[in-house]
Symmetry: C2
Subunit: 365 residues, 2 copies
């Protein structure tokens, strides 16, 4: 019945998580209620949110000096909420432009400050990430913003910049948070819409260093003031309780994946390397399929590719669907195909895709 | 297994809705995917959101000149989003203060404008709604704001004001939208957090007259600019897809409730009148239980009451839980008990509560 779902997000979730949610739908842990029906102020939900935060802290080794916030509005809302909170009277913020999602962040930030594009790979069509020695950093920047995985273009940072002068590093990690270990202490703030590796849409994770709280612009809505959200343990406004519950189940699932001698995220990283190498390897070995991102900057999560003949896109997608390989159409701004292979995409899904790619090329290539 | 859940929100949902969600959890309509896994840009979710909007429009008889927006952040976020969108250069907005939720709206609005309290029942301890002849309306007000059902205090407007001079009427209807017919055309804007009569938390409904779009403050985040949200059919940022799906199932459930010759909301209103009269009648008939809200302004949704002896609160709550009557503790700012009896609370739940009230009074009163 189930298909292999390559959607960029909302995206595939672990089947074990969905099965558990199904089992508990009408009666969570003997409460006689669905999680959706629990008061966010009651002891049961308090337990759910506390466990979710504790598990996330464990998974990402989040230092105590960082706060975890469960927010709403996704990365697009954070694109405004970040400058509203972090400018703290400054008028400049630095942005590295590596594609569609960086651009969205830049456009929104420009409404609040001088959002300086200190490096961009636009000229090359976003096929690489500009190396740090090309970045023209501003002395007065309130923060430096990266999108560390470009969901649409399929680029991923496999390195992190060294920042001087205490400028906080801010990252939109929506589409690869939890896919690999992250040195949280290198960042001032990380945000991520949940609908890739975390859980359902409608939940945004924010991980923020405590000293960055408390400087919100006077016109920042209270519900999006990091200090207010932190002071209320993410319960200033009613949080998306069911989405937090599902995210918590995903965190538990991640913890169960750990191989001996490895952390859960080291395990996921190894799996994601293997899955992405299998897919990129097949595409590279073919003379017919085409990818455009430089190898060093390829995303392990989002793999855009093109057929040798665009006119066959429809045939390819139809054949894929017949095999239960769905949501492979590329983003409209890029065209072609895109396979998103998040944590919850089993290796078997990538194998099935690779088999189909090989067979399709043999028939049509 | 299931209990009667009197939570003020997140609150009880129709069991039929939860059962359907459970059935469809791993495979929505033969897609091989959970609704949580569907791309918000794909045809399947487009179908879900279109049907949800169409059903909501039908249920509330929303005129074509109004837009329906599926947003995030709840009523507390809207308390900022409303002035950010509706002030349109004006500096004054009128607010009627009828309790905790009005006060939250007022406090937040004061960050954006002169939020004038044109009437308040604070002096009487919020036991009534100030009649319109006491309201001191401002000539220059950008809008006039009401909370038409005070979830904590248990007050509900059973009438609507007549406004002159075209001042838009704005209402926080979080805790009673869909519990009765509403003349939408009397309002400029209605907002409601979903977690009472609509669906899970994390979804906010906004119904706004088209001529009020397009005037957002330059610092309003794009994701909360009504014009932007409307232009993108609520898909500017990734919406809370699963919450919209559940709300859609609730709308379908409401449509199935209609009695012959009545609309769904006329049917719900009659049921809600009957349920609330049963509960208030029992409380009134007792010389021991106490309510404080004036009869004409009592909420049909949220019924706060006090035992004759506060020292018995713990005994009462424990006995209630043993009978499967849960989440009856009053809000901490009010004390005592509160029974929230939304659409999804069956009459049998109110009967069970009333039986318990009678028995408890007999034993302890």
């Amino acid at each position: 019945m189930r298909v292999f779902n390559f959607s960029a997000g909302p995206a595939v979730l672990p089947e074990e998580v969905l099965t558990q949610a199904q089992d508990e739908m009408l009666d969570w842990h003997g409460s006689g209620m669905s999680v959706m029906e629990l008061s966010h102020r009651g002891p049961q939900f308090a337990n759910i949110v506390a466990r979710a935060e504790a598990d996330l802290r464990e998974l990402l080794a989040i230092p105590q000096s960082y706060r975890v916030l469960f927010m709403q509005g996704g990365a697009l809302a954070e694109n405004a909420i970040v400058p509203l909170n972090l400018l703290r009277g400054r008028t400049v913020a630095d942005y590295v432009d590596t594609g569609s999602w960086s651009q969205k962040s830049i456009r929104e930030a420009q409404r609040y400050c001088e959002a300086r594009v200190i490096a961009s790979s636009a000229a090359s069509g976003y096929t690489h990430i500009p190396p740090q020695d090309e970045w023209q950093m501003s002395a007065a920047a309130a923060y430096l913003h990266l999108c560390t995985n470009e969901t649409i273009g399929g680029l991923e940072y496999h390195w992190l910049p060294e920042l001087e002068g205490g400028v906080p590093l801010v990252a939109d990690m929506s589409s690869h948070l939890l896919s690999r270990p992250v040195p949280i202490e290198r960042f001032g703030l990380i945000y991520a819409g949940a609908q890739k590796n975390i859980g359902p849409s409608g939940l945004t994770l924010v991980i923020v260093r405590e000293d960055l709280l408390g400087g919100a612009h006077p016109l920042c809505p209270s519900a999006f003031d990091y200090q207010v959200v932190a002071d209320h343990g993410s319960l200033f406004n009613t949080p998306p309780t069911y989405a937090i519950y599902i995210a918590g189940l995903v965190f538990e699932w991640l913890k169960r994946q750990a191989l001996p001698g490895r952390t859960p995220l080291q395990t996921m990283e190894a799996r994601n390397i293997e899955k992405s190498e299998l897919l990129y390897g097949t595409l590279d070995a073919s003379g017919w399929y085409r990818t455009v991102v430089e190898k060093a900057d390829r995303s392990r999560m989002n793999v855009p590719f093109f057929l040798g003949d665009d006119a066959l896109d429809g045939v390819f997608l139809k054949g894929a669907e017949e095999r239960g390989l769905v949501q492979l159409r590329g983003h409209k701004s890029v065209g072609g195909m895109r396979a998103s292979i998040y944590n919850a995409m089993p290796r078997a899904g990538v194998v099935a895709l690779v088999d189909y790619l090989t067979e399709f090329e043999r028939q049509y290539g």
